[in-house]
Symmetry: D2
Subunit: 476 residues, 4 copies
């Protein structure tokens, strides 16, 4: 399960960033604000919007939620018909001001702004090479690398971007705004989502399609793997920059990153989750080994899968866990002695529902296991007699190098323990994950990156691969 | 349906206040903080906590969410083993600092603090009488009246409270904290909820039982209608102050105020809602007049009822509407031309689910009808072919004088229009409310105040009754 | 010497509150804001403004500087042509929200707002009496007592105020605003200042005349001791409510409270201070016992006296101490080991001026002596060879009961030590105070309260006198 | 005269930035905080501190005063024994987050942080050249250029800096911090000040010596023109990087930028100002053409000069103008009709002093003349019969290209009007500036940049010179 931000609990997968762009629509800043608002679940650490009034670019950004940086007055300052915005999820070590996006590049040949989602696996190599050539980096974000690469290349701007992208290895989906043009790029494996829609006579670009509704977007389509779009007053030009492409969309986007009302590469997120729940139920039915009274999902990201499980199994779907809507970023930390309170401030068990019940608890994933354990405890404290945990995705055994912050293998409980040990740790009565092939069968697609489940990475890993090998070696 | 606070939409019922008290438990302020956090849905306009260190009372309060006034440093300043807190929902005209609770009474005979939830219908009469006797009122809250009444009466403190309460007419549930005692009072109709639980060797008092879990409360019970509890180091003393009592719990608490994991007067809120949904389905089945594909609830308060409807009808329960978790209090207001954006910033239709579907849309109530209309529109824009609205409560035709802010009858759409006209206004394909008797049958209780549905008020209405009569007259 | 607020140093006299009122002038809230801004030196802990739009009164108040509570948007909310405002200085124990002024009294007979400066010495007696009669007090401010007294009295409003004031003993200057009237009152000893001026066709009332300039006030005059002014659309009505009056203006207002550009009861503050400096120089000249090179004043309040000393003595006036303009309320506290830094963050010695010099250091007063000691040290560290301290007022030996927060006698260094001992404590080479008679000779008036210098209090002291007697007894 | 920041008035010279560095002293962040606090008058728009714990560099920065970004908690996060800080004054167009200093350069060869004060006149040329070579600039600050130049050069770090500096033309004083070294550089004309002192076994570097006192600095000295200091654990290494050097210290630093308790290149600021006042008086005495009653200085920067004038002339120095200590950054803007209030919120005339008097008003400079006019008006409104304005510096006729924001010649009143016309504009009864030679005579040095007074610029002006020529041409 995923909390918006894990303040009390550790060991959970972190969320992704969100990018949003507007080309040639009135009040572009305001539209970007609404778009980023719909993408706020992808990042709450910082946000920024840059606008172009066709002559110059202005950029405002700051820490925290969108609402902490932007209000009516600030949005008014951001005049223009083009805009690019960003909501940022950052890891502990990188919350410096220099990393807040969009990254601005100020140049006598024309300024540009970059908003990026993903992770460049050859970032270290690229930085060192450019530093050796005299470039300076002020922060540690990959967007700054993209800016440098573009600036360094020769040719007209579309050519500069095309050449720059060829240096990048990893997962990326980014938008570049110039005074009168916009560019949208997706990596050649399509690891990160990026969609486009029409609005009035212009265009919007977004990490997730859920942001199109609020801006009245229509005629949506996905940027293709290895594709570079140039958007200007003449419309959209599609450029396939990579020779070899494949679609390996991050499975975690379906499993819990994205909003249920988003569709990515033709698959609706809610539907995919529900199908994963159905598949879990089918497997249980076939095995015939679990008797239960009710199905409960961990809010919010696992409700769809729980509903699917309930439908398939015929068991009643119940609201056994409630999420507190007022969990914010500045909460008082419980004292050491009250550590249990962390999960209880976010989730409550509905005693009258769970008391005396055998429960199928559907969750989306298990990372370190500590949160799962606390939730099972919560249900048992409220009187549940049995808690059978069903996970709508495979066990995570490998680190992600493409933007999902699961750190090292050591923290992944399933990398260190077998299924029975994990079940024991989370004090569940039974535990099942969805195997990779079953998940693909459920989602009805094989166009997924499942590296964190099986260690098959779709890109070269550069020095990261070395790290990983060492980690695996060290474990022996 | 209920939004936390209606910033863009008008015409919705407002929420209630929440009170919380702690007697003789370590770190009382911290416990009160966690308790109020669980009650935050009852009020977001202001909050306050007063603590007693057995010798003196200190009170800190401020505007906005709990987290805007309290942090670790502030909580540390509030030393003591007793505490009383409040989260306030205030109407537009009353957000002055003087109305933030707890209300402190500073006296050479000993200070006390009052936290109150409800509405005193003879407030005007009481104030005028006391003002004529020289009392001054600094704000417009009912709590201030309670403070005055207590101070004015003679006898020991429990006697003063007992006498004071006899002057009050209306709905009230309040807690009074002195240096070394605590009092909890509920009106003789039990219109507002108030529960007690044990924690360690002390006690906690709360508007809703959902707050007990986080503080490890046990052995919960409800304060009875017309009961006054005195809590001190000897335990709890139960005093029945009123001769004639009955239980007429506000039906709206079950329908949407309270959290699903709360139980009030023996009935779990989620269960009650689910039963109302089942009843709606039964009625539809008996009538046999609706064919539909899926059941969708308006998040969050109507999900339980929708689940009940789905179970009873056999139709699939679907996540057709998604609620944005980041709707806060300081959002940019959409321009006049973008007014539709209001509802869309909070709710999104899941296009892949609702497209081409005939939908049973379950909501908890309709006040002015404007929000309902926008939600129906949202679903139809997303491709729903039919939207059949089912309301888990009766049509609201009368104003509430007990704390539910529905203003005058003129604003209540069902007070002015018949069922067909309302259906037409909200552009639904069909519309059904749950009748009063069917709701009671569903909830399996008749101990409900249903005045807003049928105009039968359980208390004297004083001058308010005159207003109402005039209103009804004027309508003719 | 006086710092705006003593964050690092203890033992200094605290400042007074400031009141400001506007009757019948356009944009009254804005005018009050500007007026309070000119009075901000009298209190930085909280501020408030209430306005009347002729029909109802609205009040906004909050903690901290004026700018922390008020901005253009807030001022716009405060519509009306009448206003009353307050800046509050509060002692450590009294910073509760309930004590922020103006105090509002809401009544069915008409609301009113009270802003008060001073100290009621029979407050305890009045509160107890009213509490026994059933009144409740929410805070601990004297203004609340004034509100109660007014409300309790019978008759028309001017009669109610007149009767109420007769109960008050002590130092007070307050303004009451009703929907369409304003009242200004000063105690019968005139212990606290209060002035009036015309603005357009209306009036403004202010604690100090320095606030009149910014609002274009003209035809200024002081409210007389024992006088009650009623201001309405017919003009000003002067009512002498007290039979026996005398002018005993607080000497400390001249010595350091008030701004140099204010005039109180006909005497300009800067002029009075300068004359005190001249008198100090005359005394030194007559004694012929000090040789020095330069005269240095402690900024800001002692600069006038230092200039007077320099002129009279013929010694050069030098800028030997500089005050940092950015000392604010939220500064980082130096660690224990860096305690000296406190005074150095506020004051710097100009090394090139003071090095090798024999200095006459002119200050306005000594309370505990710790700050004086640090300043002398500062100058000696910067190379001064001798520092001769000259104080522009007598030694403070008695507590003030009229609003000047000097706490108990024990903290007053001159109440416990003789002149030589004090000199030794502050490590000065010589030390002289101005005797009471010499100060009066310098100021050219005997209409001063000098109780803190000689223990002769102009009012009955009630229980406070008892405290004092005990204190003096205990010292023996 | 200079206001801390001109919110209501336009046309005034802006202030400079301040830099501060600490090498090898415990609690370096805390020390830097105190040092920057003493330099806060040099910039209030933004501030930042970077610290090195010998292994890595952490940087925190933000908008507004030091106290808006830093508190005890933040300072604690900045661990280390080395630090570099900055307070920034920015012009309207450059308040983007990218321009806040220190500028961080993150590199695999080791990070470094740059804090800079001054203006690089060949910035445009350098940027274009580096951009053409593929460098990207994120902001518009000169510090970013310095970072790029250092990074681009080859050799060890001291060599990289030495080579980098040779490309810079203009006014600069900057500090570079690496993990275990610090560098301090001053331009070859010494246009901006930079001083060093010892603290314990380490060193501090500061724009002004006034910051040394609070950190217990000793053995102060100035970095020489054209000098580069390398500070490491072995001590300080002095490197003269420029072949041709001269001392042309900005005269404006003495006239009003710097704090009176600072000494720059051996001259105390207060003393210099006082001598300029004396010189003005001598000139008046020799001319014998002015009769006056009192001397008044515009607070705070002109008080020293006014004191000098008074001493030399024998006229009494008087506190005729009072400055409000609470003028902050978030004040309510007076409406158009109340524009006069701007100057009155900051300055008040002491009516009792100036009434009926012939005044010598000493100010430090005149830029556009509008503020001077308002101050003269203020005094006349308060009853002054004559106001004779004496300026402690020459008439400003040329723009500054070295960091003093006087924009174009067109805004400089003395570039367009002769002395009599200026006098007429500011409604003074007479007006005299101090001629360049007289100022040098007063200051007892010729080591001054006086380009803004006579157009003789000590550096090549690049394209700026072209602009200037065009401006002068256009005026003809």
């Amino acid at each position: 399960m995923l909390f918006e931000k894990d303040y009390f609990l550790t060991g959970k997968i972190n969320e992704e960033c969100g990018v949003f762009g507007v080309f040639n629509v009135k009040d572009a800043a305001s539209l970007t604000y609404f778009g980023l608002h719909a993408l706020q679940h992808r990042g709450q650490e910082a946000s920024g919007i840059a606008t172009s009034n066709k002559k110059e670019i202005k950029c405002i950004k700051g820490r925290g939620l969108l609402t902490e940086t932007f209000n009516n007055r600030v949005i008014k300052e951001l005049k223009g018909v083009h805009a690019v915005g960003h909501v940022r999820y950052s890891t502990a070590g990188g919350n410096e001001i220099e990393n807040i996006q969009p990254i601005m590049v100020r140049s006598h040949k024309g300024d540009f702004a970059v908003s990026h989602n993903g992770n460049i696996v050859n970032a270290k190599e690229l930085r060192e090479e450019m530093e050796n050539n005299g470039s300076i980096f002020q922060g540690t974000s990959d967007s700054e690398i993209i800016g440098h690469l573009i600036q360094r290349e020769q040719g007209d701007f579309v050519e500069k971007i095309r050449k720059a992208v060829l240096h990048l290895e990893g997962a990326f989906a980014f938008v570049v705004m110039r005074e009168n043009e916009m560019y949208a790029v997706r990596d050649h494996n399509g690891l990160r989502p990026l969609s486009v829609a029409k609005v009035d006579n212009g265009y919007v670009v977004s990490s997730e399609s859920c942001a199109f509704d609020i801006v009245n977007g229509r005629e949506e389509f996905d940027v293709l793997p290895g594709e570079l779009l140039k958007i200007d007053y003449n419309g959209i030009q599609h450029i396939q920059y990579a020779e070899k492409t494949q679609l390996k969309m991050c499975a975690m986007e379906y499993i819990y990153f994205s909003r249920p009302d988003s569709s990515i590469d033709g698959i609706n997120v809610h539907t995919a989750r529900k199908l994963s729940g159905r598949m879990l139920a089918k497997i249980d039915k076939e095995a015939g080994d679990v008797e239960a009274d009710i199905v409960v999902g961990v809010p919010d990201s696992s409700l769809s899968a729980a509903m699917g499980y309930a439908e398939e199994s015929g068991l009643p779907y119940e609201l056994g866990l409630i999420k507190n809507r007022y969990v914010g970023r500045t909460f008082i930390q419980p004292t050491q002695a009250q550590r249990e309170r962390g999960v209880r401030m976010k989730l409550s068990a509905v005693r009258d529902i769970v008391k005396g019940k055998r429960i199928i608890l559907v969750d989306d994933s298990i990372v370190r296991g500590t949160t799962s354990k606390r939730i099972v405890q919560l249900l048992k404290d409220a009187g549940a007699t049995e808690v059978h945990v069903r996970i709508g995705s495979p066990a995570i055994t490998h680190p992600c190098f493409y933007g999902v912050d699961t750190s090292s293998r050591k923290e992944l409980i399933s990398a260190r323990k077998n299924n029975e040990e994990v079940r024991d740790f989370i004090i569940a009565d039974s535990l099942k994950f969805l195997e990779v092939d079953k998940m693909m069968e459920a989602f009805e697609t094989e166009n997924l990156c499942v590296a964190c489940f099986n260690g098959v990475y779709p890109t070269d890993l550069f020095n990261l691969g070395v790290q990983l090998k060492e980690e695996i070696e060290n474990e022996r």
